[in-house]
Symmetry: C2
Subunit: 432 residues, 2 copies
Amino acid sequence: MRSFISFLLTALIGMHSISIAAQDLPKVDQDRLEKSILDLGKIGVDEMGTQRVAFSQADLDGRDFAIQLMKEAGLEVHIDLAGNIIGSLPGSNPELAPISFGSHIDTVPNGGNYDGCVGSMAAIEVVRVMKENGIQPRHPMELIIFSNEEGGVMGSRAISGKLPPSAFEVVNSTGFNMADGIDRLGGDHTKIDQVIRNKGEVAAFVELHIEQGGLLEQAGLQIGIVEGIVGLNWWDVTFTGFANHAGTTPMDQRQDALLAAAQFIQMVNQVAVDRDGRQVATVGRIKALPGAPNVIPGKVVLSLEIRDLAGEVIREVYSTIEKGAAEISKDSGVAIQFEELSTTGIPALTDPMIQKQIEASTNELGLSFQYMPSGAGHDAQDMALITPTGMIFVPSKGGISHSPKEFTTAEDMANGANVLLRTLLKLDKAMD
Amino acid sequence: MRSFISFLLTALIGMHSISIAAQDLPKVDQDRLEKSILDLGKIGVDEMGTQRVAFSQADLDGRDFAIQLMKEAGLEVHIDLAGNIIGSLPGSNPELAPISFGSHIDTVPNGGNYDGCVGSMAAIEVVRVMKENGIQPRHPMELIIFSNEEGGVMGSRAISGKLPPSAFEVVNSTGFNMADGIDRLGGDHTKIDQVIRNKGEVAAFVELHIEQGGLLEQAGLQIGIVEGIVGLNWWDVTFTGFANHAGTTPMDQRQDALLAAAQFIQMVNQVAVDRDGRQVATVGRIKALPGAPNVIPGKVVLSLEIRDLAGEVIREVYSTIEKGAAEISKDSGVAIQFEELSTTGIPALTDPMIQKQIEASTNELGLSFQYMPSGAGHDAQDMALITPTGMIFVPSKGGISHSPKEFTTAEDMANGANVLLRTLLKLDKAMD
């Protein structure tokens, strides 16, 4: 009986130790994380919003601020040849591939201070907490602040090997092209192939990010477990009718390119709405020529964007839209032509094992959650090409993003950082 | 019996004299008229079309050419304070108010050589024919080549007293504003009120013009008897939704201003098509903001134009469109606002007596005709405010206008000039 009771006691103490271990995991410092965000938020901001557009002086200033925080947190910091800021923490087993985590801090023009910034500042806070609590993972840890995320996930695309040389010509709103911009950040575009990493060189990648949509807030949930980043396909669609005098051309003698385009825009919306699922289709940009009030438009060019987590859904939606366009063209006498643009992205699914670890971490913290896709592109989508990847969402107030009105509460940011910390440590235990 | 036969013979001879007189009326010289057009057509033309935009050097050169022809035709030529070129022929009764006729020779950028030019060169040919055949009307005859017709019937608006001082600021594609332009043409904008004419100061006005549409050609008819110039009302319509991320905003959470605008454009077309009548409604210009492929448009501004011969039809069509917009706004959550612009024109009906004289002239010449509205604005619309006005159309090949492809055959031009000549002489007989 005594050995049995001993056994029971040992077992109970053992189990207690495990659960204490989980409960013992430190929490991030909510106020300190908020301060990092607010301090970063002072850099490059004017009355129109945050202007830390990649390559700008404000971006350089923001990067200097982040580098300073990273060094203070105990990271070895360097800038890679694509301009990504890399902070390294050695693991107890240097043979292992690193576990990487991070986000970005560059913004769109008139942007906000949470898109990318929450993930980046939370990553730094996670390192501080590990250091302060003597937590040394087995794997080397690598905090990455990717360069020029808003200009087409440039820094992460360079790492995944998907950045084509033609991208170097692209000029952003600062006036710098990508080649000069990379060099400005401390990279070297002529040697950029050297940053390419192959499968196996990174053990896993996890990114914390604001939702940039309103679903978590509307559902009253605290954490989003991202199933994947939707694929995005983008076309220019050209409508060719006949420009004619608006006064002398009877209604039944027109080949009005704008009327056909209007029918198209409605049809696109109907196709996306009618199909069960979470696909989205958008016409964001339109130009009618000649563009005079007294001339029937003879030509219209507009943009069409379709996004979904499944590539075959995108193709199906596109195929339905194409058929609808053929009908409109026949009825209206306006020719309709689709041109697929090369800046499109395939869906990037997150790793199911990492999804489960995020879920377990969320449960441990007693937070509410849902599984959901990411409708926006992220560095995680290119990291997913070379390593198992996970992504964690926190709510965006009002679903607003790319705007100075962007906001996430200090509590939500801390929740996300805590989930990130626990997920990284679970990964460290589980992976080779 | 002999006196009865005498009476009959006299009557018959008398009638025969009248009909011989009608048949004796000379015809214009088709080749000479064509030559005038082709010579004018060499002035100010480049590979994009005719560039005799009002106030340009090319316009000045074209005017010099016309003045030369007018003088050679025997007219006393002067330029009034609004820059209109006036050629005067004395009548046998100098007490009578003049009968005026003419058109314009300035063009739109990349324009053609027939719009306004046919009426202007035909008017000169009519004077030549009268002179060569010793025809002196009772009324003084006044050939007017109006200034800057394409810039909003400027010269004729000055004569009718409807040119507001605010118009002087308007800059056209030459870079000159109207005030400087008028002075450049030999007018004086500071004294422009002196060109205003009141009712009674002109006995009648007749304008020959190309149709600028395809109806005469399609119907195989030679002459259009214009019932009036349609009224034109013009609005800017603003759609206010909410700009949001195209990837993260589900389809059922959008306030897409461009989608609402697309529904509006279709509705406008439907209203104009469904209503019996010849009204036209057009959306020619559209701008969506922010105008990025990955952002749901939050704001759209487009132009709405409605034209009809009856002001109440325009108001009725507008009222129906307004109601339709209210429905769209309610369903979509997008606010829709109409702003009526001040550059609108009221319908200008032609004089029924003059219409009949045009018809009689057309019949005498054995030409086919139809009654029809003018969907385009003309100097005649402002002359109609101060004097009984008539307008004659000749066919436009393919209905094309405001294009270097503009064309009317020499035969059609001569037909129009002959109808113009006979109409003027009938007016001279009929009016005080």
